[in-house]
């Protein structure tokens, strides 16, 4: 046993881990490319209902809904009917995929709800990471650099925001922000809905980042190279730019990447509680929650549960694998403070 304990080399785990990271990155890249390519169709097709034949239709390779139904959804009111009947080119390929993952309780194509859902969820994750990156880093850096009373007050603010029950805050933010945002977006409530979620999830995503960055800055301030720079007469601004900031980049990028799966998970919880993304806008969490609600003891609509939940879990897993590997790479001694 002692020889195992003293085995400090980082081999063994690495190759397998690298393979997992490579697989995760490939998966995320492919999925992003696919959903981006499908966006021109999906933006029109995700809410195409077909109540006559496609309601809860199980997965099939043959499209269940006729092309005209999708065609009709793309025409703006008053626009003339397009000449060609059969879809062609990319649209033809896309059309043949519409029933591949089955249809939901309104006969909508699950495939073309999942693809934009992925983009929306990824957008929420990235927005939260962006807010964490900007607000969290600035906040933590300011607190750490100035120190003293300012530091105490700024970190108290973080504590207080941590102490607010998250769900309550989200509901109140939604209620308070939806009417003004809806008028801002000319009554386009889906966009207002997504923006509110951006704000709600972003408003807490930066808290951990601020704590981590502050800790990092505090230890950098004590480090030898900052001290020697100060002794050799460098200005505060120069120390900040040349010595502190470069050392913060790796840590903050890594933690920002770990914010992405957390935010997607948050959104799925909110959607499950009915206060996240609202129908008909899809998100991974919304679809997974709908799938969970479709479960009953009599008839199994398994595709409604398996595909959305599977996609959600695999996406989160891939993001976590990449983020975790990055964290260990940049910061092998990290105490996983990100988990708090």
């Amino acid at each position: 046993m002692p020889d195992r304990v003293s085995q400090l080399g980082g081999r063994g785990r690495e190759p397998r881990r690298n393979r997992a990271v490579a697989a995760s990155v490939t998966f995320l890249a492919l999925l992003t490319a696919l959903s981006a390519a499908a966006l021109p169709f999906a933006s029109d097709w995700h809410d195409v209902q077909s109540l006559d034949r496609a309601v809860r239709h199980p997965p099939s390779f043959q499209p269940v809904v006729s092309p005209e139904v999708f065609d009709r959804a793309e025409r703006r009111p008053g626009e003339a009917r397009s000449e060609e009947r059969a879809p062609h080119g990319l649209k033809n390929i896309a059309f043949h995929l519409t029933s591949l993952l089955g249809h939901d309780d309104l006969g909508r194509s699950l495939m073309f709800r999942l693809l934009p859902a992925y983009l929306i969820s990824a957008g929420i994750g990235l927005a939260a990471a962006g807010i964490a990156m900007v607000v969290g880093v600035l906040w933590g850096m300011t607190a750490g650099l100035i120190g003293g009373r300012t530091d105490l007050i700024m970190m108290r603010v973080v504590d207080v925001l941590y102490g607010l029950p998250y769900i309550l805050m989200v509901i109140l933010l939604r209620v308070g922000l939806t009417p003004p945002l809806s008028t801002l977006f000319h009554g386009n409530s889906p966009i207002a809905n997504v923006v509110v979620l951006f704000v709600a999830i972003g408003s807490v995503s930066w808290l951990t980042m601020a704590r981590v960055v502050r800790g990092q800055v505090l230890s950098l301030k004590e480090s030898g190279f900052v001290e020697s720079a100060r002794v050799s007469g460098a200005s505060t601004w120069r120390i900040l730019r040349r010595h502190v900031l470069p050392n913060l980049v790796a840590t903050s990028l890594t933690y920002a990447l770990l914010v992405v799966p957390q935010a997607i998970l948050q959104e799925s919880f909110l959607s499950y509680l009915g206060i996240g993304i609202q129908q008909p806008t899809p998100s991974l969490g919304r679809l997974a929650a709908d799938g969970v609600e479709a479960v009953n003891t009599f008839v199994g609509f398994w595709w409604l549960l398996v595909f959305p939940c599977g996609l959600l879990v695999i996406t989160l897993l891939a993001l976590n694998i990449v983020g975790d590997a990055l964290r260990e790479w940049f910061d092998p001694k990290s105490r996983a403070a990100t988990l708090l």
């Binding site: 304990v5 029950p165 309550l168 209620v175 989160l316 105490r335």
Partner: protein, 306 residues
């Protein structure tokens, strides 16, 4: 120690006060009226009378009156549930959440810590890798997916446990497992990295060199310092498990406090919202303090600094 305790209590009180104030500001800033909500509407005169009775006609007055009531542990009436006071609602729902939360945290510690120690001892073997995989899956699974899968497996297919409801021990099993899973994953990961750091330190090498049994070194000498990050995590995690299990409570139909947060906010039930927030933030502050105290007791370096 006493000075530290008083300082922490004071800071905690300030935090709770700030959380209360912030919530109050949000409650009055958001449009909506508890007396004219959905089906539940009262006449204008009644509303005036009710507002006057509960000091709600003036925000500033209500702010202080509610705080004064809260100091005497009286959160006043709810405006949505007839014949219920906030105290009764919180009093009936909180014990349920506390029971599930504490059981889940115990489960998480009892599984997560040995798992992390085991993985750290066998770093870079298949044991470590499967432990890491388990951790990643644990933090990637949304609880409503885990819960639903468990229900399908144990209640529908095997008919081992009841699907929902509340009352017996059998109703506790699945919610506790579901709630414990992500916490187990975090604790295992924190224990692993903590244990791994400690095992490479000099005093552990000395212990091995003296010829102590590996089991004794790991469990008696190394475990205490290795658990420091876990202890730091337990404070906020316990508070989160006690009250933040909204999703798990909804999946299994458990009558806990989570639903009241959601309903109170949706109904703009000011009294219930403020009361629930006060309870939540007090618990959070208390558990953070307990974790810090445990931290101090475990780590002699910090203890001496006090």
């Amino acid at each position: 120690m006493i000075r530290w305790l008083i300082r922490r209590l004071w800071l905690g009180l300030v935090t709770v006060f700030c959380v209360y104030t912030l919530t109050f500001l949000m409650v009055i800033a958001v449009p909506g009226n508890p007396f004219q909500q959905g089906q539940h509407r009262v006449a204008a005169e009644t509303e005036m009378a009710l507002r006057a009775r509960y000091h709600m006609d003036d925000n500033w007055l209500y702010y202080w009156e509610f705080l004064r009531g809260a100091a005497r542990l009286d959160f006043g009436p709810t405006f949505m549930y007839a014949d219920w006071t906030c105290n009764q609602i919180i009093g009936s729902a909180l014990p349920v959440s506390v029971l599930i939360g504490i059981l889940a945290m115990l489960t998480a510690v009892m599984i997560g810590v040995p798992l992390g120690v085991w993985a750290a001892q066998h770093k870079n073997t298949w044991i470590d890798i499967s432990c890491l995989a388990l951790v990643l899956v644990g933090i990637s699974l949304p609880t409503f997916v885990t819960g639903t899968s468990l229900i399908v497996l144990f209640c529908v297919s095997w008919k081992l446990l009841p699907i929902g409801g509340w009352g017996g021990v059998s109703h506790l099993v699945l919610p506790v497992i579901t709630l414990a899973l992500p916490f187990t994953a975090y604790i295992a990961r924190l224990t692993r990295s903590g244990m791994f750091d400690v095992l490479s330190q000099d005093f552990v090498r000395t212990a091995f060199a003296k010829g102590l049994a590996p089991r004794r070194v790991v469990w008696h000498h190394a475990l205490k310092p290795a658990l420091l990050p876990v202890v730091g995590y337990l404070g906020p995690a316990t508070a989160q498990a006690l009250t933040g299990s909204f999703v798990v409570e909804k999946v299994f139909g458990v009558p806990g406090i989570g639903q009241h947060f959601v309903n109170a906010a949706l109904n703009r039930d000011a009294g219930l919202m403020l009361g629930a927030v006060l309870v939540f933030s007090t618990l959070l502050v208390l558990f953070n303090m307990l974790a810090d105290a445990a931290y101090t007791l475990i780590d002699p370096r910090i203890r001496q600094a006090l």
